[in-house]
Point group: C2
C-alpha cells in the first residue's frame, strides 16, 4: 500500500511525534510512506519525498519525536469551498502515484481540508482514504479532550512564568511584568500560566483571556489593590484579548494588524499595550515579555503525555485508513484523571473542521482576571511528566531532513 502524509498550519513541539506515529504504523503495515513537503502547497508541485528512505533507524524516530516544528515543512493553503481545478490536480497526482491513504496533520483549517477532499473523493468515486491527525498548541479543537501539541506549549509557558515570577521579585520597587501569550480567540495557552502557582511559586497575579472582554479601569484598580500588599506583579495576557466593543486591545497601541489567508488578524502588542498603559496610569515601572514563537517550538521541556498522545493519534489515523475509513479524525478521550489515562477514537471531520472550543466560562473566575481549579484539574495531568531531550554536544538533538 502507498500512503502520503503532510503537515499543515503553525508548528508545534509535537507535530513531528504525530508524523512518527503515522510513519511507523504505516511502515509496520508494509506501506510505502510518502511525505509532501510544505503540505498541500508542496503536493500541488509534486514536492514529495519517500520517508522509508529517510527514517532508517529507531534513533531517527526518537529524535523526530523530540524535534520541534514540522519536519516536512508546512503551509497555510485553504481549498476553495466548491471543488475547482486544484481538487482535480490533487486527485490526479494522488492517483498517478497510486496513493491509497492521505494523512494530514494540522489544526481546524487542516481538518477542513480532510473533510473537503474526502467528500470530493466520494463524489468522484475515488477509493483514496483521507484521515486527519489533529494538532494545535491553541487547544481549541472540538471533540478531542485536548489537542496534541497543547500540553508541551503549556508546560513551557508555566515553566517560563515560574522563572519570570522569581525574576520579577528581585527589586524592592513597584513593578509590573506583563507576559503576552499566544491565543487569538481562545485562552487555553494563557490559562496555563495558572499552573505555575504552587508551594514554591506565587504564580501570576492576574490572568486575562480573550473569552472575557477587557476592562481597562478594572485592571488598573486590580493592580493598584494588589500592589498594596505585593510590590511586583506578573500579569499573563492573551495576544487576542479584546475590549467589549470587539477591538483587540493592541489596537489601542501603534502596532499594525495584518491579515493572513484565512482572514485571521496577525496580532502583536497586547502585552506592550498593557505594560505601557499601566506605567502611564499608575506611574510604576513595567516590562512586557512576549513568549513569542518559542512557546510553540520549544522542545527541551516536552510533556511526555503530549508526545505519547501525538504519536498515538498518528497511529490511530493509519489504523482507521487501513480499516477503510475516510473523512474521519483521530481524537483523544480522557479515561481517568488520577491516574491519568487517555485513549483514542475517531470522529467525523466536520465535527472538528472550523469549530473553535473556548475555555468554559465557569473555569474563569467571576471577575474574569483569574483561573479556577476546574482548569487546573483538567490541565495538570497533561504536563505532569516530561520526555527528556537527547543531549548531544550540550544541546537537545534534533532530526534534520537533509
Amino acid at each position: 500500500m502507498n500512503v502520503i502524509v503532510g503537515q499543515s498550519g503553525g508548528p508545534t513541539a509535537a507535530i513531528n511525534a504525530s508524523l512518527a506515529g503515522v510513519y511507523e504504523t504505516a511502515a509496520n503495515n508494509n506501506c510505502c510512506v510518502y511525505g509532501m513537503r510544505y503540505g498541500i502547497s508542496g503536493l500541488l508541485k509534486e514536492d514529495i519525498i519517500c520517508l522509508n528512505d529517510i527514517l532508517n533507524t529507531k534513533m531517527d524516530i526518537e529524535l523526530l519525536r523530540r524535534t520541534p516544528s514540522s519536519m516536512l515543512g508546512s503551509c497555510r493553503h485553504k481549498l476553495t469551498a466548491t471543488p475547482d481545478e486544484e481538487y482535480e490536480r490533487i486527485f490526479c497526482i494522488l492517483h498517478k502515484r497510486n496513493i491509497d491513504c492521505f494523512f494530514y496533520i494540522g489544526g481546524n483549517d487542516s481538518m477542513d481540508t480532510i473533510q473537503k477532499l474526502a467528500k470530493y473523493g466520494r463524489e468522484i468515486g475515488s477509493s483514496i482514504k483521507f484521515v486527519g491527525v489533529p494538532k494545535t498548541i491553541d487547544n481549541d479543537l472540538a471533540v478531542t479532550d485536548h489537542s496534541p501539541g497543547y500540553a508541551s506549549a503549556a508546560k513551557y509557558i508555566a515553566t517560563s512564568i515560574k522563572e519570570l515570577v522569581r525574576d520579577s521579585l528581585v527589586y524592592d520597587t513597584k513593578s509590573v511584568t506583563v507576559v503576552e501569550i499566544m491565543g487569538r480567540n481562545t485562552g487555553w495557552l494563557t490559562a496555563a500560566a495558572s499552573l505555575a502557582k504552587g508551594a514554591d511559586c506565587e504564580g501570576a497575579d492576574l490572568i486575562y483571556l480573550p473569552e472575557i472582554p477587557f476592562d481597562i479601569d478594572a485592571c488598573v484598580e486590580d493592580v493598584r489593590r494588589l500592589q498594596t500588599s505585593k510590590k511586583s506583579l506578573v500579569i499573563a495576557i492573551s495576544e487576542g484579548v479584546r475590549f467589549a466593543d470587539g477591538r483587540y486591545i493592541c489596537e489601542g497601541s501603534d502596532s499594525p494588524l495584518a491579515t493572513d489567508v484565512f482572514g485571521h488578524k496577525a496580532l502583536a502588542g497586547a502585552g506592550r499595550f498593557l505594560a505601557g498603559m499601566l506605567s502611564e496610569k499608575l506611574g510604576i515601572k513595567s516590562r512586557a515579555v512576549e513568549l513569542s514563537t518559542l512557546q510553540r517550538c520549544s522542545s527541551h521541556i516536552l510533556s511526555l503525555a503530549d508526545i505519547t498522545e501525538s504519536y498515538l493519534v498518528g497511529k490511530t489515523a493509519v489504523e482507521a485508513a487501513i480499516s477503510g475509513k475516510s473523512g474521519v479524525i483521530a481524537v483523544l478521550n480522557r479515561v481517568s484523571d488520577n491516574p491519568y489515562l487517555c485513549d483514542t477514537s475517531l470522529c467525523m471531520a466536520e465535527e472538528i473542521a472550523n469549530v473553535e472550543k473556548l475555555v468554559p466560562r465557569n473555569w474563569i473566575n467571576e471577575s474574569g482576571n483569574s483561573i479556577c481549579d476546574e482548569f487546573i484539574k483538567y490541565a495538570r495531568p497533561l504536563i505532569e511528566h516530561e520526555l527528556p531531550p537527547i543531549m548531544v554536544n550540550g544541546f537537545p538533538a534534533h532530526f534534520l531532513l537533509k
Copy 2:
C-alpha cells in the same frame, strides 16, 4: 564569626548557586550567616535575615542552586566616589552586628562597591573583610576566564536559537527571523547563538555584536545574497548594536530610551528595528523575537559547569575572607580545554571594578557578521553538560524565601 552576604545587579540563573557556596562554606566554618535583603539598599534599612534559620537541609541547598534570580533580592545602588554618610551608616550597622566578613555577589558595579568599602574600611581602621563574588550573564568581567552566570544564559540562548531555526524553516517562503539578545556593550551572549550550529542545525545565518559598528547596506546585501540559496534566515542581534556614529540602531526606531542609575541606557528594539527595516527594503516577511528576561532567569536548562563554578567562587570568597584577605574578588582560571578543568584564585577588586571585557576582534569574522571558531572553542566546554532540574508537580522546583 559573623558574616553577611548580599546580591546585587541583574538576576542570573546562577547567582543563588554562589549564595549557596558562600552560605555552606561559612556555615561549615561555624559562622552565623546573615543575608541582606535587596543588597546595600536593604542593609541601609537593616533589612537583614539569618540564613542559618532558613537553609536547613541539603535539599534546601539543592533547590537554591537551581533557583533563578536573587533569593535575597537585589538593588542597583551605587556608592558615591568620596565616602559620605552612607559609608558611615554601613560600617555603623556592620559593627553593631559584629560582622567580620562582608560578601557581595554581583557584576562590575558591585565589585566597585567591594573596592570602595574595603578601602574605606582600611582608612577608618575597621577589621571587617570585604570580598567580591562575581556574576553576570554578560561575561564582560575582566581577569576571570568567564563570568559565573554566563554559561547558563548561553546554553539557554543557543538552545532557543536551535528551536527557532527549526521553526523558521517551516514555510516555503522568504522570511527573516531576527532574535534580539541581551548585551549593552559586549556581544558575549549574542555570540552564543553561534553554538547552535552543528550536524543537526543550520545555525544562525548572521550574527551582529555591539563590538562592530552596524552597516545597514551591508546587512541588506548579506540577506539578499543568502536568500538566493536559503529562503528563511535567522539573524541574532545584540540589543546594544550601534551605527558607526555611536547611535544605537534602535534609535532608528520609535522605542524611547531611558537611563538607569548607573547612566546605562535601557535598550529595546534592535530586533524590531532590524526586522522592520529588512521587510521594508526587501519586501520579505520578517519577525522579531526578543529572548527578553527569560535568557537571564531560565533555570530549567542550567549549565553544570556554571552552577558548579558559581558555587565555587562563593566558597573561595569565604575562604579568602577567613584567611584575612579584603578588597579581593574570587575569579575563575581555565586549567584545560579538553577535558575542561577550571579552578579559582583571587584578584584585587580594582582589576575588575568598572572594567568591561569585549569579545576579541579576531573572534569575530572580518565582515563582522559571524563568529569564529576561537569563540566556539572557548564557549563550548562551558555549556557541554547540564544540571537537571528537580521536577515537582510537572515543573522545575525552586527554593522560596517565605
